[in-house]
């Protein structure tokens, strides 16, 4: 069974500073990896995904994520945080093969800038 861990419930960062939101996963094989953001009383918005290729993935709103296969991590990063980045961030994983090819989400990390 696949699982996603977001070890930090809350991340606080000053505006203009770099931010990192951590994610590790457990799934057999090479999964697809995703980051979503959720604003209060809203659905989830897609930020970026890793399918294959370059380990550094660039996404929406200046966010990027680094895939590290050996550490099974997919940390979300941004060079300079904005107040408007304050939201709830979810990491998700989906296996490339097998019968259970649904998205599995982490528990979320509340980012406050």
């Amino acid at each position: 069974a696949q699982s996603v861990a977001q070890p930090e419930d809350q991340v606080n960062v000053a505006e203009g500073n770099p931010l990192t939101v951590k994610c590790t996963y457990s799934v057999s094989g090479n999964p697809y990896l995703f980051w979503y953001v959720q604003y209060p009383n809203r659905g989830l918005q897609f930020l970026l995904k890793y399918i294959t290729g370059d380990n550094l993935v660039k996404g929406s709103y200046g966010f990027e994520a680094e895939f590290n296969k050996s550490q099974t991590s997919f940390h979300l990063k941004k060079p300079s945080a904005l107040v408007s980045d304050s939201a709830l961030y979810f990491c998700a994983v989906r296996p490339r093969s097998g019968s259970a090819r649904q998205l599995t989400f982490g528990s979320g990390t509340q980012l406050t800038v």
């Binding site: 996603v4 697809y32 979503y36 009383n41 809203r42 659905g43 989830l44 918005q45 897609f46 995904k49 399918i51 979810f90 998700a92 989906r94 019968s99 259970a100 090819r101 649904q102 998205l103 599995t104 989400f105 982490g106 528990s107 979320g108």
Partner: protein, 112 residues
């Protein structure tokens, strides 16, 4: 281009009742997935519909059922509601193979 829409926005039901939630996918999308997001948790996959059939199912009891119509819209039905069913129910649409899912704003269900 309309995104994913869900109705109703909020709903209050009593234990033991039944509820139906509705979802219209993003224009051009033919696959609909439903998720349950309890307070303070990440979304949990309920099931996915494609070509009017349930294609995948998460770890949810049979009280949770669904339907997809020929126009790709979908319904989620929950029978014999429990207090623990109180959550935000999210609908997401996509095109196969579903690598990029677009989420609706959700329906907030409260069971009293």
């Amino acid at each position: 281009d309309a995104g994913v829409t869900q109705s109703p926005t909020h709903l209050i039901k009593t234990r033991g009742q039944q509820v139906t939630l509705r979802c219209s996918p993003k224009s051009g999308h033919d696959t609909v997935s439903w998720y349950q997001q309890a307070l303070g948790q990440g979304p949990q996959f309920i099931f996915q519909y494609y070509e009017e059939e349930e294609r995948q199912r998460g770890n949810f009891p049979d009280r949770f059922s669904g339907h997809q119509f020929p126009n790709y819209s979908s319904e989620l039905n929950v029978n014999a509601l429990l207090l623990g069913d109180s959550a935000l129910y999210l609908c997401a649409s996509s095109l196969p193979p579903g690598l990029e899912q677009y989420f609706g704003p959700g329906t907030r269900l409260t069971v009293t």
